[in-house]
Amino acid sequence: MIKCFFAIIFFLLFTSSCLSQGVGIGLSSLYVRLRSGIGSTVSSTVDVINPSPYSIKARVYFDCTSCVKDVKLFGIKIGESIEDPYQLISLDKKEVDIPPFSMKKGAPITITLTPKLIIFKNLKIYTPEGVNFYVKLLNRNYPGYFLIPYPYLIIGTHNINGTLTAEVISSSFGYIGVRPAVGSTTEIYVEGMPLSSFILLVVAILLVLFVCIRRVKKKIKPKPSLKKRKLIRKKK
């Protein structure tokens, strides 16, 4: 009788604690650091884990915190410089399925850094409200800014900071009202062209240009003036 009573108590305790646990998610690494130079690809693998009793589908993305920088002219902000981190890094999967209680071995995600010498950034220029009114007469969907893409040569070490985030998007729990997520601090270092090499390149280009201009000048000899031509004829 007493055994039965304790069994019921333990059963109720166990089931009540199970009921209180909802959806969860985890990552096997707190910190990801990738560093590489041109021509060398490096990668790191992180496991998305699941501490909850429900299977989950997670979205994995890199949330860059250093990719938007203010562009100022004489101290006045004229726009923003925006960099797409996916030009340098890639994730092998964007969504993963993780079974319940997968704490030891979850779903692996590989983040790969492929350094490039030249990347493209966007200059986001905000137009004044007075101008927006006229532009919106022509294009109602004008967002109030325009983007100018421009190439960016990586000189020295280029650093990207952010968080590798895994976020629950669906679960066997049912409809998820609040999305739990975990983030791993991520630092990316791309070793581009050394400054000395860049100076050498500029000097070499200038010298080549100088040689070309001189050759072109030599080929295009100025015609003698009318007076000179008459003098030559007279001499003949």
Binding site: S20, S28, T65, V178, P180, A181, G183, V211
Partner: protein
């Protein structure tokens, strides 16, 4: 400068670059690595009521059911602010738990992706809204307010913090709700809504709400929705 001189100079530059690479690489000391691999996991779980979502009900009723809000000029409870009780003195059903297997403490943050936006009813879908973000963290009003604590006993019965998540650049950031949460510990929460604008048309308003955990010294980052 003669053309031949320039050609010699370019040749010299290329030759010196090549020579320096060849000479110095020959005397390069190959490193002997000392290596270690460390893997520290972090994970969090939400309570069942928090996983289901935050449903605001009328006034300060505590029976767990969601009723349409009629009180537009004051605070309205979330349905599970007082879980498993019809009296407004029970424990909160909303909490985030740092897994007991965590080897390091975590920072827990939250954010709302946008204002509560009309999805159905007499309001204009996608246009009419109820404000979620408060103008400041302290003395919140006309927005979503909350209280947080690491024990149920310390959890306030009034919204002492406003939901705020905008930095000086204008991009949304996460708001910290648990700055240093040790393994196995919980952050308990209660939520309230003071609807604004007061003249919002009848209807259902919703948005996406997220909770993120990072290492205690890490940055929760942008609220990417």
């Amino acid at each position: 400068m003669e053309e031949s001189h320039i050609t010699i100079l370019i040749g010299f530059l290329i030759l010196s670059a090549g020579l320096s690479r060849a000479v110095f690489s020959a005397y390069e000391v190959s490193p002997k690595p000392m290596n270690a691999s460390v893997q520290q996991t972090i994970s969090i779980s939400l309570s069942t009521p928090l996983s289901e979502g935050i449903f605001f009900t009328n006034t300060t009723t505590c029976d767990g059911t969601q009723n349409p809000i009629t009180k537009m000029d004051g605070w309205n409870n979330a349905t599970r602010n007082y879980y498993e009780t019809t009296a407004c003195d029970g424990n909160s059903g909303y909490y985030v738990e740092a897994a007991s297997t965590n080897q390091v403490n975590v920072k827990i943050c939250h954010c709302a992706c946008a204002n509560l936006t009309c999805s159905e009813g007499l309001c204009v879908s996608g246009t009419d809204y109820l404000k979620t973000m408060c103008d400041s963290e302290g003395s919140p009003s006309d927005c979503v307010g909350f209280s947080n604590a690491t024990t149920q006993g310390e959890l306030s019965d009034t919204p002492d913090i406003g939901l705020t998540a905008v930095d000086d650049l204008g991009s949304d950031l996460y708001q910290v709700i648990g700055a240093n949460v040790s393994a196995g510990s919980r952050v308990y929460l209660r939520y309230w809504l003071d609807p604004f604008p007061d003249s919002a048309p009848s209807g259902v308003y919703n948005t996406t709400y997220k909770i993120i955990a990072v290492e205690v010294s890490g940055d929760c980052g942008n609220c990417a929705c």
